[in-house]
Structures are given as C-alpha cells and as structure tokens.
Symmetry: C2
Subunit: 284 residues, 2 copies
C-alpha cells in the first residue's frame, strides 16, 4: 500500500495501519458495542459531515481515522488540522480496514473517536432552553437520534433518557442525530432520580412535565405549555407507564383519526415539540 503521499505532512505525528490484526482496529471495532463503549468511555462518529458538525460545535475527536487513499477535501483538511492542533491523534489505514471499522456503506472514509459526554442530570441547566425532550425506555437508536435532531431544530436544551433506553452514543443514534449529538445535552437517569430533580430544582419551580396521553382530553393545540417545558414520550410498544403519566403536570391528546392509537415515538415527540415551540417562542 502506498502511504508515502501522506508522509512529510506538516501535521503532528500520525500512525499508519495496514493490517487487520492491529490492536487499534480491534479497539475501533469494539466501539460498535455498548459494553465496550461504556468501558472505554468513548464513542465513534463516522463521516465527514458529522465530524465537521462536531468541529463547528467545538467538539473534536481524540483520534481521527482516515483512509490512506482518500480524496482530498477542504473540510477534511480543516478537521485534520484542528485535531492535530488540539493534540489529538491522526491515524491512517487501508480503505478495506477502515471499511471494517465504519461499516461498508460509508463512502466518506473518515471516523472519529470521541470521549463520551458527562450524562449526569446535575449537569443540565434547565433555564438554558424553553423546551427539553424526555424519552422513557426508548429502544430504537434511530428514534433516539431523530429526537436529538428534532430537539436541535426546536431549540431544545437536550434529551433526558429515562429508564432503559437505547444508547445515545451508538453509531446508529449518532448517525440519525445528524450532528445534534454535538448540540444537544444528554442526560441519563432513572425515573426516581429524574422526578425529584425536576420537582426540587430552581426552588421547587423546576419545570412542567408534559406527556401525550390517551387518558386526558386536553387538546395538544390548546394546552397551557410553560417553560421550561419537559416533553416526555414513552417506549415504542408500551408507551409511558400510567404512574409516569399521572406524575405529569399536563397530559395532552394528539388526535388519532385512524385505526391506530399511537404515533411513532419520535414523530409524537416532534409534533408535541413544535406545538410547544409555537406557544413558548419569544415574539410569537
């Protein structure tokens, strides 16, 4: 393999990997599994667009992995330069090896290893945004990433994951977030941590908890949303546990005119979020 063309770059030290059996390849591949991500406290993000989103949000990978035979691209140069300037590591590898790491369908042969973010509730500043999304036992990483993306669009502060949700740092969730993983705060908590945090914050005025519900006749278009507004959606099959709904300050009904009695979880969250936005948005 010809890696000579990248020799002599003015940039910082770099490694070149040409064998599948290199321990780094094993490490990178391991980050596709949750248990390894947790142990390493690292996650993977793939593709130039996503990594550029990260850079533009001021988040840089600790390690940038690129194909040896890549096409030059100004955004890739910018990324390489930023990672090197921040003391990160640049790794080049054979295309076929990188394909094993990133999944075959990725034509943009670049990936980054990021330190996982701090996901403690205590890190959230609830006054920073009028809307927060809350997902309970959401199992589909695509839905989770889509909720992050919607959160970014409505100017939410972040996504709070209650109970046993999919991993927001999975490759699928990161990809579906379309970069919102780098703009939205993420917190992970049990229900019995979340509710006291919500109720005891800001002198007992911690926020309004809202759920879409079939048990309450309040039309979601006419409901008295109040900031900070925490919009909660439940598990894809079960929905929210009844006790969770009952703990909400507001239960709203989204019309269901057809045969089905529920929407896709990410869709329900988005319909609620855009409605709350219209009520809460300054100047509207």
């Amino acid at each position: 393999m010809d890696s000579a063309k990248n020799k002599g770059s003015p940039l910082a030290e770099r490694r070149t990997i040409t064998g599948f059996s290199n321990p780094l390849v094993k490490f990178l591949r391991s980050l596709r599994e949750k248990k390894h991500r947790k142990r390493e406290e690292r996650f993977l993000a793939e593709g130039l667009r996503l990594l550029t989103d990260a850079r533009e949000c001021g988040v840089l990978p600790e390690m940038l992995v690129m194909a040896i035979g890549r096409e030059p691209h100004p955004l890739l140069d910018a990324l390489e330069e930023a990672v090197a300037a921040a003391g990160g590591e640049i790794v080049e590898m054979d295309e076929e090896i990188l394909a094993k790491v990133t999944g075959k369908d990725n034509p943009q042969a670049v990936a980054g290893v990021f330190a996982e973010f701090d996901t403690r509730l205590a890190n959230l500043d609830r006054s920073a945004a009028p809307i927060w999304l809350v997902a309970q036992a959401l199992r589909d990483p695509g839905n989770l990433g889509t909720m992050l993306r919607t959160g970014d669009a409505v100017g939410a502060g972040g996504l709070i994951l209650i109970d046993d949700c999919a991993d927001p740092f999975s490759v699928e969730a990161v990809r579906a977030s379309m970069g919102a993983i780098f703009t939205q705060k993420i917190a992970i908590a049990r229900w019995d941590e979340f509710l006291p945090w919500l109720r005891n914050g800001d002198g007992g005025n911690g926020g309004q908890l809202v759920a879409a519900s079939l048990r309450d006749p309040t039309d979601y278009r006419e409901a008295p949303y109040a900031a900070p507004c925490f919009l909660m959606v439940g598990n894809e099959s079960q929905g929210l546990p009844q006790a969770y709904e009952e703990a909400c300050d507001l239960r709203v009904t989204i019309p269901m005119l057809g045969r089905a009695d529920s929407l896709n979880a990410a869709v329900a969250g988005a319909v609620l979020a855009y409605e709350a936005l219209a009520h809460l948005r300054p100047g509207k």
Copy 2:
C-alpha cells in the same frame, strides 16, 4: 417433529413443512427481496398484531404461515378461521424454519402472504380525504412506513410515492407502518405522471400541492391549507428538487432554530400533516 396436535382440525386443508429445502420456504424467503416481490406480486407481513390489523381492515393473506409449536391465541384462531373461510391456504412449519422466513427476532411466529395492492394513481379518489401525503425519492423503508402510520393518524387518504422510493411492500416498511399499510391507499408514480394527474383532476381543481421549503418565508402555522391538500416531503439527503418545490401551490417554512437545516423526512411530514389537519379538520 410432532405435528399431530394440529391434525383433525375442522379447518380447511393445510400443509406441514418440516424441511428447509421445501420450495415454499424458498418462495417465502424470496419475498424479502424487492425483485421477487415484484415478480410474484406478493408481499409478506409478519406478526399476529399486523395480521390482525389486516383482518380487521378486511384484508386477508392468501397464505397464512404458522409455527407448529405455537402457543394458542384467540386472535390466531380468528385469523386462521378467516383465511380458511376465504379459501386461503394454511401452512405450518417447524419454528426454526419459520424463524428463517420471518427473521429471528420475531417471537410471534406467524406470517402472511398478501397480494400486492394496485398502486396506480388512477385508483385514488382524492375527494375521499382532506389530506394526502407525498414522498419523493424517500429511500428509508422505516421512514416510509412511519409516513403511512402518520397518514392513518391524521385521517389521510394515502401515500403517493414519487420517483425512486423505497418499496412500501418491504418487510421493514410494512412493519413500521404498524398496520397502516392496510388502511392507507398507496400509489407509485413518476413526477411527470403525478403532476398532470394532480392538475387535471376534478375539472382542473385537483388539489393543493404543499412542500416544506427553506426558500419561502410563509410560516407553516399561518399558511392557507386547502383540501384536498397534498403534503410533499423529499429525499432524506437531497430534499426536494427545486423544480418540484417551484411547482407547488404553497411552500411553507418550519422553524429550524438549531444548527441543522432539516428534519428527519418522516418527522417533517408529520409536523406538516398535523398542522394541515388543525386547519382542515371539520368543526375546528
């Protein structure tokens, strides 16, 4: 394998399959691929809930496939009875073989083979519903199924697929539709068929074509939606071609307050559809 317990049923003739090499197994597995679905004009739907949805919509599979060692269930009995009464075929097979057919993660070991629906535009009665969804080059079968599900929820008439979309009869799209594949009409057309159909229908008053757009300042909350209202979303990466947007009667803007400039396609469709519903719904 003990299949004796199902012998002597009062129901119609049935076949029992105990070998992987049976041609029927190959046929069923082939329906996971689009080219075979097109050739056979058949598609697969899996799981008791989905098949019950179909039955309750008056749509029965031509063939019902069940695991030999299945747990009895009244809905399964109802399904079996309905299929037999309609002259359909009942097939039982070893669980491991059925798992190969349906995909391993399906604990409800039942599947149905359905005749594909007629997907010609000419079949749609646009006056039957105030809202219709239109997807252009939507490539993700999950998004497509989610749009069907949303269409059912807002009382839409159906989903029109323009240009090269994912196959609505794929197992993934059918599953994501949560039964809406059986309640929503589906039409497949090229843009240059769709536009004349829209414009020339009902004496030239065929419907209002609406797209979410970044090129127009009309707030999606304040737009003059009119029935029959055709809400169009574009491809996941490219969005709608500019010429398609320009052909629309109405271009509306959904606020994007974050870094990203677009929503997930199924989410955008749902936010638009619920907004149009609020404007068009009788009695509101």
